[in-house]
């Protein structure tokens, strides 16, 4: 089962000098924090604010590349969570065929926001990570938990 989720916001994690993108479902009952790198966070932030920088940033270029190829992003899916590393898939439509490309969640989300493609999360990923409230979850984190980032 997959659940559609929306980008709720970005947070800065000062201990790890990294960013957290927070996804929530429509009813606000499920939540998924994902640790991402700074360049991807700034790209997601530009897309959330609908800011078009004077020159295309990397994910704008990625979108332009797909446009030039006449390919459309159908959806992105956060598929798995392993040792605090998340995996995502980008589903593309090109001609009559569908293609699935392996991606980091940060790139997938940055691209989804620009192409207005829906973001889905595998329920198993939410169960693993998203069942607690973020504040409580952050409080319980130990430094060891921050070993791997989505960078």
């Amino acid at each position: 089962m997959i659940v559609q989720m929306y980008v709720k916001g970005l947070m800065f994690d000062p201990y790890n000098n990294a960013y957290i993108v927070v996804l929530r479902d429509e009813t606000q009952s499920e939540m998924l924090p994902i640790w991402i790198g700074k360049p991807e966070a700034s790209s997601i932030s530009l897309a959330m604010e609908h800011i078009s920088p004077p020159r295309p940033m990397t994910h704008d270029f990625m979108k332009a590349y797909l446009d030039a190829a006449s390919a459309k992003v159908i959806s992105v899916v956060i598929t798995d969570l392993n040792d605090n590393t998340y995996f995502a898939k980008i589903h593309l439509l090109h001609g009559d065929s569908e293609y699935t490309v392996d991606s980091r969640p940060s790139d997938a989300i940055a691209l989804a926001l620009r192409t207005e493609a829906p973001i889905f999360v595998n329920e198993s990923v939410i169960k693993k990570q998203g069942s607690e409230e973020l504040a409580q979850w952050l409080e319980n984190l130990k430094p060891d938990d921050f070993g791997k980032l989505d960078t």
Binding site: T58, M62, Y65, A69
Partner: protein, 155 residues
């Protein structure tokens, strides 16, 4: 080479330098037919690192942004055929990425950093127009490197 005729200068991506004063990177390109002639472009840190990784042959556990673009192209049967540095205005360089989408040529406006990071992953050649080459910065690479080195010694 449609609109540029014979006036394109083929470039080799030589290396990526750190500009520690501003946390930016400098990509150094050299003329394929005369490696002593350089062109330098100031680029962002993350794009600079994307170029450096591919120059150094580093493979990351997860695909980084430009790896993802390359992978998408492979899935879709799109070939990146070349990158051209088409213009420079107030030290901002402009690039065009040429794609071959099943026999049809398409072009995309890009920053040189993204264009070069993708070109290196797709083994696509990088060119500058003769005009951009003429107006480039980087003619005095050696002097410039000495300046960086002496700055770093001071700090």
């Amino acid at each position: 080479m449609q609109e540029w005729g014979d006036s394109l200068v083929e470039l080799k991506v030589d290396r990526v330098l750190d500009d520690s004063a501003t946390d930016t990177r400098i990509v150094v390109l050299s003329r394929s037919d005369d490696p002593r002639e350089h062109l330098m472009i100031w680029i962002g840190a993350s794009e600079g690192e994307a170029i450096r990784r591919i120059l150094d042959g580093l493979v990351t556990p997860r695909p980084m942004s430009h790896d993802l673009i390359k992978n998408m192209g492979e899935h879709l049967g799109i070939k990146t055929t070349k990158v051209v540095l088409t213009d420079v205005k107030h030290n901002t360089y402009f690039a065009t990425v040429y794609l071959d989408a099943k026999g049809v040529t398409r072009t995309i406006d890009a920053r040189p950093s993204d264009a070069i990071a993708l070109a290196l992953r797709c083994s696509a050649p990088v060119y500058a127009t003769a005009d951009v080459w003429k107006r480039r910065s980087g003619q005095n690479l050696e002097a410039w490197l000495n300046k960086i080195e002496s700055k770093q010694l001071e700090t």
